[in-house]
């Protein structure tokens, strides 16, 4: 779960979408090919403001094709609480789009979700990579799919500070070398938002997926191997090569005081303190909102430096699930799974679809297109590990995984102690699940 949600700004995209709205599809998209006049469907998701407006455009298309009436409810970051309250009250929304895979699992286990129908299943098999289907599957039944994905393997840099002839590092060694060279020149190249634990867990997940491999990653996410496993230590130490105090403005103590948004402003603000910041694609949103830099010109990204030889991407995303067993619900879910539905939001910007059929040309700018391309083409996409963990371990401020990463950033020499503490917490947290 992300404590932080940025509404990606898409100035050009709005104009583009305006032009595109006139071009009606030749045939009705899947799910929208039935007549649902007079029926109502209720959808709940976290999106508000710009994102809500974009999503409502998607829903408008469904309404236009089927005659159904769709109500959108924005639950904001409190969506899990909203859902659990409404489930207890016996009046859940028909469709929910949740950011926490752990929540999908627990709702499925409680019997609150309705499995996707065969037609939707076939559509997802056809248009999504196999990994994406796996994530929506609980105990062999397909309950959902990721509608809006995040690429959490992007490293953003300031083109002005790094100069015209800057070449992004090809691998981790080159990345560490780059940091060293820049700091030798008296700079502090790397901005780390260590006050927010989730930025640090994203660092670790990217490194671990590559040093340990996808299978070990899955095992660690399920706690089938302990945190004291040697592969964890190796990943931590690999990460430690970049987490050197001389690379970070103000050293370790300052990094631990820097929140995510500040870590971006420290690179792209008017008075930059660093040159490079790592996080997900929503960094672009912070740049647009909080600095005068322009994404695509002043701010560019390179994929997280590779360590092995498979291309890996850490992702997150919002999963569509059905909570009622009605034809209108099933139709809307199927429609949302289709590339046609995704394409509507893709054009408006601030949206990445994991659907392979969505044309990359549809993305409003080069940067977004490359982010989407990296995500769709990655050989080893994996869901954000902290999102797969019990929330008490993977998403609690100042505790669990977040805290362990902060402790490591503060003092790498304590690594064995940190990992054994984390293992004890993990054992307790998974036992409660």
């Amino acid at each position: 779960m992300r404590a932080f949600r940025i509404v990606p700004v898409a100035t050009a995209a709005v104009v583009l979408a305006g032009c595109a709205a006139g071009t009606a599809p030749h045939s009705a998209p899947p799910g929208a090919d039935v007549d649902l006049s007079g029926q109502t469907v209720e959808v709940a998701a976290v999106w508000a403001d710009d994102e809500q407006a974009s999503f409502e455009r998607v829903l408008d298309e469904f309404e236009r094709q089927t005659g159904a009436e769709v109500t959108y409810v924005s639950g904001g970051d409190e969506l899990p609480t909203v859902l659990s309250t409404r489930l207890v009250g016996g009046a859940p929304p028909d469709v929910a789009i949740v950011s926490q895979p752990a929540l999908v699992h627990s709702m499925a286990a409680d019997g609150a979700l309705v499995p996707l129908d065969a037609a939707t299943d076939a559509l997802i098999t056809e248009q999504f990579g196999p990994v994406w289907k796996e994530w929506g599957t609980v105990e062999g039944t397909l309950y959902g799919f990721v509608f809006k994905a995040t690429n959490k393997s992007t490293v953003w840099y300031d083109t002005e500070q790094l100069g015209e002839d800057f070449v992004p590092p090809a691998d981790w060694d080159a990345f560490v070398d780059l940091l060293r060279t820049r700091s030798d020149l008296g700079g502090t190249p790397l901005s780390v938002g260590g006050a927010d634990g989730w930025t640090l867990t994203d660092w670790f997940e990217n490194v671990y997926l590559q040093t340990a491999g996808a299978q070990m990653y899955d095992k660690l996410a399920e706690h089938e191997i302990p945190w004291t496993d040697d592969s964890v230590r190796v990943a931590m130490e690999t990460l430690g090569r970049a987490f050197q105090p001389q690379f970070m403005p103000g050293g370790r103590a300052s990094a631990l005081q820097t929140e995510f948004a500040d870590s971006v402003v420290d690179v792209f603000g008017d008075d930059p303190k660093a040159e490079i910041v790592f996080e997900a694609d929503f960094v672009a949103g912070v740049i647009a909102e909080s600095t005068s830099a322009t994404v695509g010109r002043d701010a560019l990204f390179f994929p997280f430096p590779s360590i092995g030889d498979t291309s890996s991407v850490i992702t997150g995303g919002d999963t569509v699930v059905a909570l009622t067993d009605r034809p209108a619900t099933a139709a809307l879910v199927r429609f949302l799974a289709s590339s046609q539905a995704a394409a509507i939001w893709v054009e408006r910007g601030g949206f990445i679809s994991p659907n392979r059929e969505v044309a990359l040309e549809g993305y409003p700018d080069e940067t977004t297109r490359r982010i989407a391309e990296d995500l769709v083409n990655a050989q080893n996409p994996r869901f954000d590990m902290s999102d797969l963990m019990p929330t008490s371990l993977g998403a609690t401020r100042g505790d669990g995984f977040w805290r362990a990463m902060q402790d490591y950033l503060a003092d790498p020499a304590r690594l064995p102690q940190i990992l054994s503490d984390l293992e004890a917490e993990a054992t307790a947290a998974y036992a409660r699940r």
Binding site: G186, Q246, G250, L256, T396, R432
Partner: protein, 449 residues
């Protein structure tokens, strides 16, 4: 409509009151019930039921369908976070209300004597009108570590810098494998012992060559000769930039102090020239080490890490103090207005100093008010939540934790929560507030009789 003056309390009037109530109670209990019902109903729905339900809920597991007895309480007390929260609550209760009451008292007494008393009171009271979350955000900024953002560190840095000189080459560090290592105190020492006429080349890095002083010239290797001779140069910015090698275009580091040590004792101190060379002549035979003292390279002072694990609780208490001082002051000022002036005047006439009047007359007369303020603040402090949540960054949240925050984190924080454990913490908090409430209720009763 003017209120009629209250009759002076006397035995006869008390008796009268008693008779009157008695008559009413005996006369029509049904009417009494009618008037009581709305209040009772509200209390039942909004106070009694939630309290009772929390108590019951605390005996069940996270999902709420399995009875676990006192299991949640056991979990709470075996969790470090709860213990830290409990410890912090104790610190809060002991320190914060006392501090705020004392400051409120001093302010109330002092402001009474100034001319624009009402204006001052208004200003002091204003923070209370700001929501705690907003105050928290303000103080999060005030205490920010970055002197460009945080007010406190900006002041600290400018005061510090007007007394202490900045080092010539802040942030410089030895090139790895170049013959120097950084010591824990910030100085650099040679890795190997050297003879009395050694020739050294010591590369440094971590500094922008463009920032070297204009007088700096190209680095020149030291010639062998009498005494320890060497070159200290900036190993970046050359044509090739080979680490640890002197490349064309690389320049010396001028004005770096170099100490020659024999058995940890400084036997000579020299300074490098514009080309980075130094010579320490006339050394007795023996083995030596070189040290470049920390004063060459010390990073500029950046203030304190206020929001780090060590200082976080005092910092949040100071924010709470800013908010609540006006509240304490206003209540105490009201009390002050009500105490009989003649006692103070009499003391002054008898030759008491202002301090003696304050200490021996004003404070004792005010003590009932002070106790009420203190107890109210204790109750208020136990539920402190927003300030801690907003001010403490994630990396110090565990150290700043308090019970109310822990309760929320456990039950609702970040989505799926354990409301059984959360209820247990709520009950715990209730038990802690209990004595203070009881004390207040007793006081009110005592005052009425």
């Amino acid at each position: 409509m003017p209120t009629p003056p209250a009759p002076p309390p006397s035995a006869s009037s008390a008796l009268e009151t008693g008779r009157r109530t008695g008559a009413l109670a005996g006369g029509s209990p049904r009417i009494a019930l009618l008037f009581l019902t709305p209040a009772l109903l509200l209390m039942l729905v909004f106070l009694v039921y939630p309290t009772a339900y929390s108590l019951v809920r605390s005996l069940f597991d996270a999902r709420g369908d399995e009875f676990v007895g006192l299991g949640n309480y056991a979990t709470a007390f075996s969790d470090d976070r709860t213990l830290v929260a409990l410890r912090n609550n104790v610190i809060w209760v002991v320190v914060a209300p006392t501090l705020v009451t004392s400051i409120g008292l001093v302010l109330a007494v002092l402001i009474e004597k100034v001319r624009w008393a009402t204006a001052f009171r208004l200003v002091m009271f204003m923070p209370l009108a700001i929501s705690l979350v907003a105050s928290g955000i303000v103080f999060r900024l005030v205490y920010d570590e970055d002197p460009d953002r945080g007010l406190v560190n900006a002041v600290a840095v400018s005061v510090h810098d007007s007394f202490a000189h900045a080092s010539p080459f802040p942030g410089v560090r030895p090139r790895e494998g170049g013959g120097l290592v950084a010591a824990p105190d910030g100085s650099m020492v040679t890795t190997a012992q050297i003879g009395r006429d050694a020739v050294l080349a010591l590369p440094l890095t971590g500094y922008d060559p463009a920032d070297l002083p204009p007088r700096t010239s190209a680095a020149v290797p030291a010639e062998p000769g009498a005494g320890v001779r060497g070159l200290i140069w900036l190993d970046v910015g050359g044509a090739d930039d080979r680490p640890g090698r002197l490349d064309a275009g690389e320049r010396g580091m001028p004005g770096v102090a170099v100490e020659v040590l024999a058995d940890d004792r400084v036997v000579a101190t020299v300074t490098t020239g514009d080309d980075g060379r130094f010579t320490a002549p006339d050394l007795a035979p023996g083995s030596y080490a070189l040290r470049l003292p920390a004063s060459n390279f010390a990073e500029p002072f950046r203030g304190l890490t206020w929001l780090g694990p060590a200082l976080i609780t005092p910092v949040i208490i100071s924010a709470w103090l800013w908010v609540m001082a006006g509240f304490a002051m206003t209540l105490i000022a009201a009390g002050l207005a009500a105490i009989p002036r003649d006692a103070q005047e009499a003391a002054r006439v008898d030759g008491a100093t202002e301090w003696q009047v304050f200490r021996r007359v004003t404070v004792p007369l005010l003590s009932p008010v002070l106790v009420v303020v203190l107890v109210t603040l204790v109750i208020n402090v136990l539920k402190v939540f927003d300030l801690v949540f907003v001010i403490a960054p994630g990396s110090a949240q565990e150290e700043a934790n308090v019970l109310a925050l822990q309760m929320w984190q456990v039950s609702f924080g970040s989505g799926g929560g354990d409301q059984g454990l959360g209820s247990a913490l709520a009950v715990l908090l209730f038990l802690l507030v209990g004595p203070a409430m009881l004390f207040n209720v007793r006081r009110f009763k005592a005052e009425r009789s």
